[in-house]
């Protein structure tokens, strides 16, 4: 019981920390959200992205699926995001994801990317991630 209480306290403390805007490249950082209807990799999605001055790099679901981002672009005109990543389905067959979205609330701490995802098999759905 004491352990549960401690865990709850830690959880509350973690979530009580105010989110602060990241003021550098708008895509850099950890993003958590959903790609609705994804039967292969599940509804929940985590993206970790970085910016080296020329390229956006990163991984989808690091530590679990480890899907490397093959190509990602950010068009400042409208803050349009395009991400391509090669994965594998449950049988080990190649599967390419394409994500298109738009950054909303750019200057704010609750910045999100909303749009759609689709894969090379034709499955598609809504995509939404928030900056952590």
């Amino acid at each position: 019981m004491k352990r549960l209480g401690l865990a709850l306290l830690v959880a509350v403390s973690v979530f009580a920390v105010p989110t602060l805007a990241q003021e550098g490249h708008p895509l850099k950082g950890s993003w958590l959200g959903t790609w609705t209807g994804n039967k292969i990799h599940g509804n929940d999605v985590l993206l970790v992205m970085s910016w080296d001055g020329k390229n956006i790099t990163g991984t989808i679901n690091p530590g679990t699926d480890n899907i490397a981002i093959k190509n990602a672009t950010l068009n400042p005109e409208g803050w349009l995001v395009h991400i391509e990543a090669d994965a594998k389905d449950k049988s080990g067959q190649p599967l390419t994801y394409t994500i298109d979205g738009k950054i909303e609330n750019l200057p704010l701490a609750n910045r999100v990317v909303t749009g759609t995802w689709k894969d090379s098999r034709g499955d598609t759905g809504a995509f939404k991630i928030g900056r952590q």
Binding site: L20, Q22, E23, G24, H25, K28, W51, E77, L108
Partner: protein, 373 residues
Amino acid sequence: MNLRVLRSAFVATALVVTATPALVVAHHEPLAKFDDKKPLRIRGVVSLVDWRNPHAHVFVNVKTGETVSNWAVELESPIDLEASGWSKTTIQPGDQVAVTGIAARDGSRQMLGKTIVTAGGKAIFTVNVVPPPMPLQPHPTPKWPDGQPRLGSVPGGVQGYWAFPSATALVENGVTAPMDEWGLLKNIADAPKVAPMQPWALQLYKERQERFLRDDPMYLNCKPPGGPRQFQLAYGVQLVEDRVRQRIFVLIGSGNNNYRIIYTDGRSHQGQVGGDDENPLFYGRAVGKWEGETLVMDTRGFNEDFWFTNGGLPHTDQLKLIEKISRPNLDTLKYDLTVDDPGAYTRPWSASWTLRWVAGKEMPRHLCQENRS
């Protein structure tokens, strides 16, 4: 309420508006909160004088018909008001005042006071902050016994600090891009000229400008003024040289009164924060060395949680600064900067300005409070 008196006060107000310099020298962009397209006049009775940083406020009861509404009039900080001879007892609850200014953008009963005139016709809370006069003949640069310039006070001499920067926003040397003292461009079309930004950085800079810099983390969350910004703030900096421990402290008068350390002991950029060497910092990791009479500082390891300029120029954690400080005479500090950030800019670029020595005074103690800066 004596309408004749207040009518006279308004006449006086109009005269004051045209006869005095702008009395608002707020330490953050006032247009982030107030709309200069919404001029406003109120007259009423003072209900409260709230005399505290970052801004003093006078609350005024305004009667319209049978309804009384309370307005908050934002003034300068008590630091500047007191430096101009005003105090919290300059007016008292119950006094009649006429106020001109501009209204809050959000439609609330707040205004930025540009003039306040008493029922007796006296203009109050005017602020006129000017740098100390330069001597006709420059005083020589104070030096240590080994001939190295002193960046701070002279032992046995008067204390002081550095303020009144000749530029309060960062612009590449040689570029003309008019902006106000908080870095807000007069013409947004000048944005691409300010610095050689990458497309994403330029768009972000433009959007920050179009929002009147209201998202500035130093304004919203009291984030430190890392990078060159600390040398462009209203309340100055103090340079304290610890020659025994071979480091220089940059004490910052604005914001939340924190400080930056420049190590001059020859160490590398790594290993300065025990156990946390790779953690990027608001002030980065600065090492410095003297080249003749110029202190050359190399700073890197910045985080991305702040704005490094008043006008909102973006940076990334790839930011590297080369800063050169010299003191050509007692009263002048020369600051030369090279910004090298391949994450946000297409090439390195430079900016330069000077600061003035404010002799015989302590650096103002200004405290930042979140959402009130």
